[in-house]
């Protein structure tokens, strides 16, 4: 009982932190709301899809930016896709980097683009770590017979 309470409190605190620090936003809450008994792994599935997508797009962007003659329209279309999926998932920081990234693409600024790419990688890693921790907490709560606290 004690452990469960602790875990649930940890979960609540950690979730609040993720929102406060802007790692996720209300769209992530929306995604969580779509999970239920008929689709119990929905959030994990969406998150996995997102990270796969993110990696693929980042590779494409990196390749495009390495060219002698950078095709900024190409880079921009990859960024646009990443912006879209990060927005749908509620990955707020990544989405915000994409907004800045797009500006650099429009300005055809290679250095700016490369900096944004680095930032995307950084945020990707951080978010992955954070969400894995969140999912671990969820599993522990359920394993201890408890239910996951509902936010808001």
């Amino acid at each position: 009982m004690d452990i469960l309470n602790q875990l649930q409190r940890q979960y609540t605190d950690f979730t609040a932190l993720l929102y406060r620090e802007g790692f996720v936003d209300e769209n992530f809450t929306q995604v969580q709301k779509l999970q239920d008994e008929s689709s119990p792994d929905f959030v994990v599935e969406v998150v996995s899809l997102f990270f796969e997508d993110c990696e693929k797009l980042v590779n494409n962007m990196a390749e495009a930016l390495e060219q002698q003659d950078v095709d900024f329209k190409q880079v921009d279309s990859h960024v646009h896709q990443l912006k879209g999926s990060s927005s749908s998932m509620g990955a707020a920081r990544i989405k915000n980097v994409c907004i800045a990234f797009k500006t650099f693409c429009e300005a055809q600024n290679r250095e700016g683009c490369l900096r944004c790419l680095q930032q995307v990688n950084h945020e990707h890693t951080q978010l992955k770590t954070n969400l894995q921790a969140l999912f671990t907490l969820e599993r522990q709560i359920v394993a201890n017979g408890g239910s996951i606290p509902v936010m808001q």
Partner: protein
């Protein structure tokens, strides 16, 4: 007291009318499900829209491009594996920005087809561009909704389409 009776009678009349409309609102045609064709090139968005629609009690078919959508509808000029008459689509929801064929181009093709022009088409886009919105609505789009799509959006659209006659 007389006016009180009138008000009650009015209410009873209104309630029974609503009940009648309610019954026909609930079914598309008999016991058929509300079938939505969703088109989006993003893996994440496809997964989310599929779930949103399933939670809203819709039958869902999701494809990743405009050309696949046309293929599914049998509008691509090739022989379709699905019989024309067997295909019952109540709503098409398509992303606007897609490589190859945009949602706008897909909308046009659907409205040009005699078989499918009556099907409501909803455009989804992350971009709130007035000229784009106008163009889609002029071309016959039912609605233009801003992504990310919420459960309330899907519910509202479904209610409008199922409830509105001759809209």
């Amino acid at each position: 007291m007389f006016s009180g009776d009138m008000a009650t009678a009015d209410e009873i009349l209104r309630r029974s009318l609503t009940d009648e409309v309610g019954v026909s609102k609930g079914s598309v045609s008999g016991s058929e499900e509300f079938h939505v064709l969703a088109v989006d090139d993003s893996f994440v968005d496809r997964k989310v829209i599929e779930r949103l629609l399933k939670i809203s009690s819709c039958k869902v078919t999701v494809v990743e491009s405009g050309s696949r959508a046309l293929q599914y509808l049998g509008l691509d000029g090739e022989k379709s594996s699905v019989g024309f008459n067997d295909l019952k689509i109540n709503l098409i929801m398509t992303d606007y920005s897609m490589p190859g064929m945009t949602g706008y181009e897909l909308l046009k093709k659907i409205k040009e087809s005699s078989a499918f022009r009556e099907i409501p088409v909803v455009i989804m886009s992350s971009e709130n561009i007035l000229t784009r919105i106008d163009r889609c609505l002029e071309e016959g789009a039912e609605e233009y909704i801003i992504k990310p799509v919420k459960l309330s959006d899907v519910k509202r659209i479904k209610d409008v389409i199922m409830g509105g006659d001759g809209k």
